[in-house]
C-alpha cells in the first residue's frame, strides 16, 4: 500500500466528508466551536483507526454473512470506551459533545471504511487508512468550526475576535451548518474538477 497515495485520498481526493459525503449529520451538528470540532475529530480518528486495525486483523475469521454485525460490535466497543474515558478525564468536552459521541457508533465513515477498506486490506494499510481518513474528517470539522465560530459567534476557541454585536448568529444554527457545508463541498468539487482539467 502506498502511504502517500492514501494520505492524499484521505485528505483530498477521497475526503470522507467533502467527497464521499459520509458523516454529514455529526459534521453539521457539532461544528459550532473549535474545541467541539477538535474533540469530535480526534475521537473519530481514534475510533476509526482502532476499529480499522481490529477489523482488518480479524477479517479472515469473520464469516461473510455476519460481518456487518461483527463490525458494529467492534465499533460500538471502541465508541463506548472513548465515551467513558472522555467523561472521566475531559468532562468539559464530553458535556459539549453530548449524545454525538455515542452516535459515532452509527457514523457511516467508520462502518464505510470497515466495509470498503479494512475488510479487504492488511493491518498496516488499515491503520494508515484510519489515520488519514480521520485526519480528513477532522480537517473538515475544523474548517467548518473556524468559519461558524468566527463569523457566527465572533470567537475562536472561546476568545472574542469580533465585537459581540456584529457576528451573523444564524451561522451557529443548524441552517448555518447546511450553508457552510454546502459551500465547502462546492469549493472542493470545483477544486477537484479544476485539477482534473489541468492533467
Amino acid at each position: 500500500m502506498n502511504i502517500g497515495r492514501q494520505l492524499k485520498e484521505g485528505l483530498i481526493t477521497q475526503n470522507p466528508v467533502l467527497v464521499q459525503m459520509l458523516g454529514l449529520c455529526s459534521t453539521m451538528a457539532i461544528t459550532t466551536s473549535i474545541m467541539n470540532g477538535l474533540g469530535m475529530g480526534v475521537s473519530v480518528l481514534i475510533i476509526l483507526t482502532a476499529s480499522n486495525v481490529v477489523i482488518s486483523a480479524i477479517r479472515k475469521i469473520v464469516p461473510d454473512k455476519i460481518r456487518i454485525a461483527m463490525f458494529i460490535v467492534v465499533i460500538a466497543g471502541f465508541v463506548t470506551c472513548v465515551d467513558l474515558l472522555l467523561q472521566a478525564f475531559v468532562p468539559a468536552i464530553a458535556e459539549s459533545l453530548g449524545v454525538f459521541i455515542p452516535l459515532i457508533v452509527v457514523n457511516c465513515i467508520i462502518l464505510g471504511r470497515a466495509e470498503s477498506f479494512s475488510y479487504k486490506n492488511g493491518v498496516a494499510g488499515s491503520f494508515f487508512d484510519g489515520i488519514f481518513q480521520g485526519l480528513g474528517y477532522t480537517l473538515v470539522l475544523l474548517a467548518m468550526c473556524f468559519i461558524r465560530e468566527l463569523l457566527g459567534a465572533g470567537t475562536l476557541a472561546g476568545f472574542r475576535i469580533i465585537p459581540e454585536q456584529f457576528p451573523i448568529g444564524v451561522l451557529t444554527l443548524p441552517v448555518g451548518g447546511f450553508l457552510v457545508l454546502g459551500f465547502l463541498i462546492a469549493a472542493m468539487q470545483w477544486a477537484l474538477s479544476k485539477s482534473k482539467e489541468g492533467k
Binding site: 459550532t32 480479524i58 475469521i61 469473520v62 464469516p63 461473510d64 454473512k65 455476519i66 454485525a69 461483527m70 460490535v73 467492534v74 460500538a76 466497543g77 463506548t80 470506551c81 467513558l84 474515558l85 467523561q87 472521566a88 478525564f89 468532562p91 458535556e95 453530548g98 459567534a153 448568529g169 451557529t172 444554527l173
Partner: protein, 206 residues
C-alpha cells in the same frame, strides 16, 4: 465464498455453518463486553465523582446559605405527583452547621428545543433561594439568554426574578408574575414550570 446465498432460491444453510456464525458472534461480544467491563472499572469512580462535584456546584449556586448537602433523599409518589408534568430528578437537603436550611431540588422541564435540567433551591419557609440550569439544548442566542440569566426588560436576571417567590404567590405564569426574555418565551415558560414544580415538591415535603 462457498456459502453464498443465491437470491430467489430457497436458502440452504448448513446447521454447522449457522453454529459457526453464532459462536463467532457470541465470542466477539464476550470479548468486547469484557474489555468494556475493564474500562468501566477504571472510569466509573471518576465519572461519579465528576458528576457529584457538578451537582454540588449547582446546589451551592441555588442555596447560598448551605455549607453541606445530604445524599439524595428518597422520592415518594406524592412528590412525583406534585411535580406534575415536570420530571422530578432528585432532592437533596441543604444543611448549614448540621441544621436543615432547605432543599435543592433537581427537576427536568421541557424547553423549546429539548429538556432543561435545572436545580432549584427552596428554603425552610418555602421561598425560592435560587435557580440554576444544569443542562439544556436551547437555541444559541435566543433561548440561551434565559439559560445564562440575562436581564429581562425590567432589568432583573430572568432566573434571578424567581428568588423569594413562594407557593403563596399563586401560580407562576409568564406574562403576569414572571417576565420572559423577548423572543424566548417558550424557554422562559419551561424554566417557570420547573420552578413551580420544585415549589410544589417542597410544599409536599413540608
Amino acid at each position: 465464498m462457498s456459502n453464498d446465498v443465491k437470491t430467489k432460491e430457497k436458502v440452504h444453510m448448513d446447521p454447522q455453518y449457522i453454529i459457526k456464525l453464532t459462536v463467532t458472534l457470541l465470542v466477539t461480544c464476550m470479548v468486547v463486553a469484557a474489555a468494556l467491563g475493564g474500562v468501566n472499572a477504571i472510569t466509573a469512580d471518576k465519572i461519579a465523582a465528576t458528576n457529584w462535584a457538578k451537582t454540588v456546584e449547582a446546589m451551592k449556586k441555588v442555596a447560598p446559605d448551605a455549607t453541606d448537602f445530604s445524599d439524595p433523599l428518597p422520592i415518594t409518589e406524592d412528590m412525583t405527583a406534585a411535580a406534575g408534568s415536570v420530571a422530578l430528578d432528585s432532592v437533596y437537603e441543604a444543611q448549614a452547621g448540621g441544621q436543615s436550611v432547605g432543599y435543592a431540588i433537581k427537576v427536568v422541564a421541557s424547553g423549546s428545543q429539548g429538556k432543561i435540567e435545572m436545580m432549584v433551591g427552596v428554603d425552610g419557609e418555602g421561598a425560592v433561594t435560587g435557580v440554576s440550569i444544569v443542562k439544556n439544548s436551547e437555541t444559541a442566542g435566543i433561548g440561551s439568554k434565559v439559560m445564562n440569566n440575562e436581564n429581562t426588560a425590567k432589568g432583573v436576571g430572568v432566573l434571578s426574578q424567581f428568588e423569594g417567590k413562594t407557593a403563596a404567590d399563586g401560580a407562576l405564569t409568564v406574562g403576569s408574575n414572571v417576565d420572559a426574555i423577548s423572543g424566548a418565551t417558550v424557554s422562559t415558560r419551561g424554566v417557570t414550570n420547573g420552578v413551580s414544580a420544585a415549589l410544589a415538591v417542597a410544599g409536599v415535603m413540608g
